[in-house]
Amino acid sequence: MDTRDKRILRLSLNKGLWVGAAWLTLVTAIGSVHAQTAGDTAHTTALENFIAQTQIGGYGEARYHYDLRFDTAQADLQRATLFFSHTFSPSILFYSELEIEDGKVEGGTGGGEVSYEQMYLRFRVSGENYLMAGLMTPRIGIMNENHLPTTFNGTDRPFVETMIIPSTWRDIGIEMQGPIDAVPGMNYSAGIFNGLSSANFHYGEGVNGGSFEGKLAQASELAITGALQYYTGTTRLQASAYYGGTVGLDTRQADSLQLDSGPFGTPVFLTEADVMSTFGAFSFRALGTFVSIADAQSIDRAYANNTPQAMEGAYAEIGYDVLHNCPSKESLTIFTRAEYLDLNAELPANGVYNGELLQRYLVAGLTWKPLENVSVKGDYVYRFTGSLNPALQINPIPQQVIYYQANGFWDIGMAYSF
């Protein structure tokens, strides 16, 4: 092989190498592109599935509240909540609500709260019967299960469903829900939850403080709840009840405080009935409730929190949508609500009566909804109570805050849900 031949061979080899390298690059590039596309497709499919199976929602409300007697006002981002739900399969769903109250949480200061309002798994057992397990708001009253601020009038939740029936009352347990096929339109709900703690009842707040709300709950005391709900036309009727123990102490501790422990020891019994209806432009809702704490005397002796033996409350509200006949989704509802509640309807022998806890409210206002899930609200609240028990006034006259049996409040607020 002469020099020329060697040069031709070298050029051929170089050319071959270049061509091979080019092919290799091309094949690698194509393979890479192909692999990337397949990976992207798989990734996109997984993402699409996740998006299809996962829902995000939420609600929030803010309010400006003006006290006409004291000429003071408060502005508050009352709550902002995020929902997350995920459908694992047609039979299993996860649901959660995470809430921040009062806009901010700061150590060492009052107000503000970060908490789960609900977090549960829902299993389809058979037909339309579902078993739910986790942190839940049992079906008690109107507001506990449905507290979206765009679904009620007024900047405040009804006072009866805040002070007598705790607002967003939740505990850990299991609950069954479903239809009663033998009675078309009727649903049932039945559950068992951890009970309350009577040690955490506070004077003038009913059983509100007793709920553990999912945080390190004593669970040797239990509660059972049940509700029947009936739909006819555009009307819903409901009755529900709660019965649960309030002492989760061991026997020795409970005996030393002369309290009954065990699953249903020192019980709270609560019952309510309610109705919601719409007739054309008119909407109506009403609720009545009664709470019995038979062993209130023992609770007061142990914890000195002036727990009442009975509480009661009722309210009725009527609304009229003046834009009902407009073709748009916009609505403007004029409403009025009357409420009555007594947080010391019956007291044990060692209880102290306070007329301040016998309260009547008259609320009137407007709810403007430019869209279904956006509300702008304004209302006037007139509150009238019984007289304050002078024995409960600790401060002498100069330092004493004047108590007015009658007072009024202006509120404006906004709310959303999605």
Binding site: P179, G185, M276, N373
Partner: protein, 125 residues
């Protein structure tokens, strides 16, 4: 409470949207129209769908079928002759599946439905 319950039971004749269990054949539910009785709607429970279906007879003689799953948070709905209602957050839908009260805004899933020779046929997806 006993009084309230008595009142509830007195209403049972007013809203007779009863339910039946039914199996799909080849992806199609076949319901004899006689099953409706005097009602304008009937709840169909089938293993082929994760939620009940509501079959509806409209006043103009046409028919329809709706999935009874709330489009807000996947809650099963309750049906009356006036519409469908969500016990969780209060959403309401008319018998065509349109949301009439929030928080739900999206309409219910519908299925093709035809009426032939007295048989309502619903094609499942």
């Amino acid at each position: 409470m006993a009084l309230a319950m008595g009142t509830v039971l007195d209403f049972t004749g007013c809203s007779s949207v009863h339910s039946i269990e039914i199996e799909a054949e080849g992806g199609v539910l076949r319901v004899p129209i006689a099953e409706f009785g005097t009602s304008n709607a009937i709840v169909l429970r089938t293993k082929a769908e994760p939620f009940d279906l509501l079959a509806v007879r409209y006043p103009d003689g046409t028919v329809g079928a709706l999935l009874m799953e709330c489009t807000h948070q996947n809650t099963p709905l309750t049906a009356t002759e006036s519409g469908l209602f969500c016990p969780a957050h209060g959403s309401a839908f008319d018998l065509h599946g349109h949301a009439t009260r929030g928080p739900a805004v999206k309409p219910l899933k519908t299925f093709p439905a035809t009426l032939q020779n007295g048989i309502l046929e619903i094609t499942l997806s």
